[in-house]
């Protein structure tokens, strides 16, 4: 219900992603699995939306629906005003997976160049963009290095640079820092925020870390499983400028508390 309200009072602004009664049911040998059921959500331009919930709540599935990697069995989803498939064909978004997935046979520069080659950018344009995004993720000078010469955090930054290289307005991130340790994760969260500040992208970010979600987001979407659905949408009152210390403020702790309550409520009496 909160999702509906959140969507309605924003009718006037630019809507980048809009899901209406979105459902996705997988047919398995153990009967149908409702990965998503009647999900309604609107994402506005420039939003940083986090999706949080226990495994099986459909947060990744929802993100994959936006990316046209899964096909909903009910309802509708539009991305940039078009269908998800059209948006994918128009290369409307960059997608960052949990693993960096860099090709070992390509240098860092070569990896970032890969989507540009596929999309047919000219050689000089490729060079320019590679240099630009490497600077953006603080990896300038690493263009000629190979993935194995970089730490896990640096590899993930390179994969973010790759997703940024073709300058899509939307960045979809599926637990991009899930496999990294706490210290590296803090650092990357800080960098991601400043990157978002500078590029004005719309970011959808899947995570299962409450502090990460609260620290990064303008809106936090709390989801729960069986069937996968949205239980709460929290508008963050935190300012856009967020030093790491903001995590010790009462506002921050209050939002984190509300997220935790939402997660617990969604889980019902199973925990």
């Amino acid at each position: 219900m909160a999702a509906m309200q959140a969507g309605e009072h924003r009718l006037t602004s630019d809507r980048v992603i809009s899901a209406k009664d979105l459902s996705l049911t997988f047919q398995t040998n153990d009967g149908p699995v409702h990965a998503l059921k009647d999900v309604n959500l609107d994402v506005e331009k420039g939003d940083f939306v986090s999706f949080i919930g226990p495994s099986g709540c459909g947060k990744t599935t929802f993100l994959r629906c936006m990316a046209d990697l899964e096909h909903p069995t009910g309802g509708s989803i539009t991305v940039n005003g078009a269908s998800a498939q059209e948006a994918r064909r128009a290369r409307a978004y960059g997608y960052v997976f949990q693993a960096a997935g860099l090709y070992p046979w390509r240098s860092i520069g070569g990896n970032i160049r890969l989507p540009l080659e596929i999309m047919g950018y000219s050689k000089s344009e490729q060079d320019r963009r590679v240099r630009e995004v490497l600077e953006l993720v603080d990896l300038a000078g690493f263009e000629k290095k190979f993935p194995w010469q970089l730490s896990g955090g640096m590899q993930q930054r390179a994969s973010i640079a790759r997703a940024l290289a073709f300058d899509a307005d939307i960045l979809l991130m599926d637990e991009p820092f899930g496999a990294l340790d706490e210290i590296v994760r803090d650092h990357l969260n800080e960098q991601l925020l400043s990157l978002w500040e500078r590029t004005h992208k719309t970011i959808c970010f899947v995570t299962h870390s409450i502090p990460e979600a609260v620290y990064l987001s303008t809106r936090i979407v709390v989801m729960s499983p069986r069937p996968g659905r949205i239980t709460d949408v929290i508008e963050s009152p935190l300012p856009r400028e967020r030093p790491l210390e903001i995590r010790d403020t009462p506002e921050f702790i209050e939002i984190a508390h509300r997220v935790r309550d939402g997660l617990r409520a969604g889980h019902g009496d199973e925990v």
Partner: protein, 290 residues
């Protein structure tokens, strides 16, 4: 260098066993000869005899070594390096059939693998035939290939290469199917998010990912190719090649000649497979996959 001592130890042990076996296997003939001459054989005489017979059951290493030298190095020294009696000539004949068959087999194997990976009908139908083709004894089918190709006017190098191809395409198909399918769902999804065409996915992801599998297959394919070329030389009536030397040797009981051809074939195989190994190491190292 660290491996030198163990390797030399094994080589020495093999030679010791070989020499001992030569004494044991050739002794009956030596005793037989001595009995007919009415003499007794001392142990040293026995050993000397068993290691120097003209048509021994098992020639001693130095006999084989001498034969190889006489048919390679010595002939080169006397300027007849490529005469029909030279092992270099026969090795070259076998090598050219092996190399051509290997190239054809690798090409066929990669083509079939691409078909199997990209075409559902081929995926379901081709593999059983590929496996069935390898259950037929090559000795049975080799003469057929020679005869049939001869009937349509193809003779010489190509029929032997076809037999090599028949043996060498199999490991390439199996390895490349696995290799082309090695990219995970995430890597394929990633290509999808960039709206890559199937051709781009093939050239930029599937083919590079399959390289480690390809090289492993190529090594097996190369060895199989050589076997195919040698087998292909048998039914053609022992004209030329290492297979012809083997056949001629067995006709006339020239065991020394058989063994020297065998050692030559083994050396050729080792060199060819080793060559692929070197290329593999360089390529995979440059690709960051070694």
């Amino acid at each position: 260098m660290r491996n030198l001592v163990p390797v030399l130890t094994v080589v020495c042990a093999l030679f010791a066993i070989w020499y001992a076996a030569a004494v044991w296997l050739n002794a009956p003939w030596a005793y037989n000869k001595a009995e007919r001459a009415g003499t007794e054989l001392a142990f040293t005489e026995l050993v000397a005899d068993t290691w120097s017979q003209e048509k021994p059951k098992l020639p001693a290493p130095h006999q084989v070594g001498a034969e190889i030298w006489n048919t390679t190095g010595a002939m080169v020294a006397s300027g007849r390096g490529f005469s029909k009696r030279s092992l270099i000539f026969h090795s070259w004949v076998t090598f050219s059939a092996t190399a051509l068959g290997f190239l054809l087999g690798t090409g066929l194997g990669i083509a079939l693998a691409i078909g199997i990976v990209y075409n559902r009908t081929m995926d379901m139908s081709v593999m059983p035939w590929v496996i069935a083709s390898q259950t037929i004894p090559i000795l049975a089918i080799a003469p057929m290939i020679i005869v049939v190709l001869n009937a349509v006017g193809i003779s010489g190098l190509l029929p032997k290469a076809m037999i090599s191809m028949y043996l060498s395409f199999f490991p390439v198909v199996v390895g490349m199917v696995k290799g082309l399918r090695s990219p995970g769902p995430m890597q394929l999804d990633q290509m999808r998010t960039w709206n890559a065409t199937p051709a781009q996915t093939f050239w930029k992801l599937r083919l590079p990912s399959s390289m480690p599998y390809l090289f492993t297959s190529l090594k097996i394919g190369m060895a199989a190719s050589l076997v195919g070329a040698i087998v292909g030389e048998l039914p053609t009536g022992a004209v030329a090649g290492l297979g012809a030397r083997l056949l001629a040797g067995s006709y006339y009981g020239q065991t020394v000649q058989i063994w020297s051809a065998l050692i030559m074939a083994a050396t050729l195989a080792a060199v060819l497979v080793g060559l692929i190994g070197v290329i593999q190491r360089i390529v995979l190292k440059r690709m960051g996959m070694a």
